[in-house]
Amino acid sequence: MKIVNNINPSIDGKGLMMGRHGYTDDFAEKDSLIIKILRSPHPYAKIIRIDVEKAKALIGVEMVVTYKDFPRIPFTRAGQGYPEPSPHDKFVLDEFVRHIGDEVAMVAAVSNQVCIEALKLIEVEYEVLEPVLDFETALDNHSIIHPEPEIHEMFPIGFEPKRNIAASYNMHIGDVDKTLSECDIVLEESFYTHAQAHSMLEPHSVNARLDYQNRLVLYSTTQTPFHVRRILSQTLGIPLAKIRVIKPRVGGGFGGKQALHGEMFASYVTWMTKKPSKIVYTRKEVFESTYTRHPMRLDIKLGAMKDGTLKAIDCYVLSDTGAYGEHALTVFMVTGSKVLPLYNKVDSVRFGGDVVYTNHTPAGAFRGYGAIQGNFALESAVDMLCEKLQVDPIEFRNKNMMKEGETSPIFAIMGEGTEGTAMNMDTCKLEFCVKRGMELIDWQHKYPRFAETEEKIRAVGMALAMQGSGIPYIDMGSATIKLNDDGFYNLMVGATEIGQGSDTVLTQIAAEELLTELDKVIIYSSDTDLTPFDTGAYASSTTFVSGNAVLKAAKKLKEMMIEASAKFLNAKLGEIEFDGITFRTFDESASISLKDLSNKLTYNHNQEQLCATSSYVGHKSPPPFMAGFVEIEVDKQTGEIKVENYVSVVDCGTTINPKLAEGQVEGAIVQGIGMTIYEDVIVSSKGKLITSDFLNYRIPTRKEIHNLTTEFADSYEESGPFGAKSVGEIGIDTPPAAIANAIYNALGVRLTKLPITPEKILKAIKEKR
């Protein structure tokens, strides 16, 4: 392969470094109306009076709208395929506000300053209701967060709003209680994870205008432009054909831009006023009023025999979806389906629990969703079990973990919102990943701890992880490739570049199949008018699902070009070979260059636009696997942890772009490290998020990150484009458990609540003494 699996700089990085325009707010019309939202100061309240007359009278104010201006159409902002597996429990504006930062009213005015003045003039009287701020008390709480009658589920997801349940799910294989009763050792522990914030550097932003056909044209920082178009139409009643959603360059998403935030408001303002408008979220709004990761409590039981055979996994999970049930079920199911199959040799498994409403900022999609929470619990518990069994944790994993050619019955039972899909692991290089990771971290010499001094100690820890590659039978990607005169191509994809490099990767796949150079394939992505459908950038699907669509389209176009050349050369179809530059008969008696053929097809001979469109829907979701190894230094006096080195050995099939794949893994590792030890989320007793800026919410800076060592296993997944699986999410899964295991190896204390702050470590040391 010439283009795939070779070092190719991203196709857009240099232009972006040089400051070329291209992000959403760069496209806002100069005279846009500015949109600002009045946000709730209460975690839970009902608006009993709202008076906007004074605000409306302010010079420069174009419109002020409240819940009274909208029909009662419940929807979900989740940004998923249709019908959505999330409850329809949100209104564009509502008479109830369910978290601090929830929307009360919207102002559109000529400037930011006028908007701010207008917001102050809106008079609101609230009936303050009793909030639910501890998710462990949400279930059957007398305070019901969604009492409204209109809300509903699209299909059974265990939705019971009267009990504060957004979704629930239960499954089992075998008789877990019986198996556990027969085990030599049973380990039981509860783990807690917190509401990590995505912290992409570009805040959410949308701008709108009517074009000269009077159609609504949006630029949006979205990961799901086609879902946005559909949901806008369903909710605002604007005909689908009248909406065009363009996703330009996006400054990071990580799942936080899968949902709709701001699209409703800009669309409404522009549709009603016919004037361009824009909304740019403040950083505080991004923290307080978009999404977080779902906080969870995971109660896990592992049963094993003395010889180190794992027999049973039992996992009850309680998940906090906050004020709205966006991704409630899907995140919950992935907590099981992309974690538990790691140990596929057990006799019985049970997984279940509830996703509850609270009056917190809603939780939603976030890179590695469910998997990182489940992984923290399972991979911490495995180390704890090994300690009880007096078995080496690496030996235990090697004995019990998934191997190539094997399967797990869980795949067929659990999908993401629906039933799953049975599949065998045609590629699973976990054994290699573990072996190579041990070498790279020097496990043999460093496990469990080393270099102890009076003040400091070093230690290593590890964890395994798996992920998926798209959602089978649901996620669709499509691609159109056309041949231009002069012999270059346009590649149009619905797939959504959000900074992860998908435009480059998809261009590489097309160029490889068409035997051409990267600069001969011009990609254009994510424009609902101009590119074919794609579900969007989520569920680790772009390389695998959209990549397969690109490969199919390139194959189809290549056949069309060969057919056209055969006609021109008066040759038989099966007797032409194409090397990317020239079409030649096998006997070399006749030939024509691609450049000449494309020019003739355009201007002179059998004129025809050659163009191929293909779609791909996965029939399976081949998991990437990885082993993560961490070396830490702990300061015994302060409880501070320094991550000295993080080794990732990843099986993601072929790396279409090895450097970009490395970037996906390393960026995710650092987000995982952040979640584990730095990114504390503090909510006041009144439900106010304290950590709502980058001063208080500490994402890792470069001072905290030292060595990252990333390698890829030699692996070729037949079902993937040129052997590729996904790589976008898996990197984030291992740090919580690997670091918690390393802390145990260093100090003999087990931390079960994220984030693991110095205070918690010191407290644990004290309690141990």
């Binding site: 972006l16 470094m17 900074g499 450097k659 490395e662 960026g667 800026d693």
Partner: protein
């Protein structure tokens, strides 16, 4: 109010509000490589050079910049292109939103520090947050850029 700024070697007379920040002035005048990240001077995305020194433009009042020299990444095209090459080779460029601000800071560091150590580089660039790359690839690219004497 009217202020005088030299932006990327061009003299500009601009009308600004007295409480307007340089970030907004620059964006309103189509210097769109200068971007908003946080509002609280914590992320570094809005960095420009003011008289050659990196500053967060979200916290510099435009009137304070009156009479001074502002450089955005469009003012250092060759250096930005060179950095873009090294970032590309290391796979250090992801979303690109912060890259112009990182380029300006690295350029200023190159002028200010002689033979910086890895720790010096981290210290100089610490105010430029990145949520995509994990930093390590960026720093490899920076090393190569600093070693490029062309």
């Amino acid at each position: 109010m009217k202020i005088k700024l030299t932006i990327n070697n061009e003299l500009k007379y601009l009308h600004v509000e007295k409480d307007e920040y340089l970030l907004d002035t620059l964006r309103q005048n189509n210097y769109l490589s200068v971007r908003r990240g946080c509002d609280t001077t914590n992320c570094g995305v809005c960095t420009v050079l003011l008289d050659g020194k990196p500053v967060p433009s979200c916290s510099v009042l435009s009137v304070v910049a009156d009479g001074h020299v502002v450089t955005t990444v469009e003012g250092i095209p060759q250096e930005a292109e060179k950095l873009g090459t090294y970032f590309g080779l290391e796979g250090a460029d992801q979303c690109g939103y912060c890259n112009p601000s990182v380029a300006l800071t690295i350029y200023a560091m190159k002028k200010e520090l002689k033979n910086p150590t890895d720790e010096d580089i981290k210290d100089y660039l610490v105010g430029n947050l990145c949520r995509c790359s994990g930093y390590v690839a960026q720093e490899k690219a920076v090393r190569k850029y600093l070693g490029d004497k062309s």
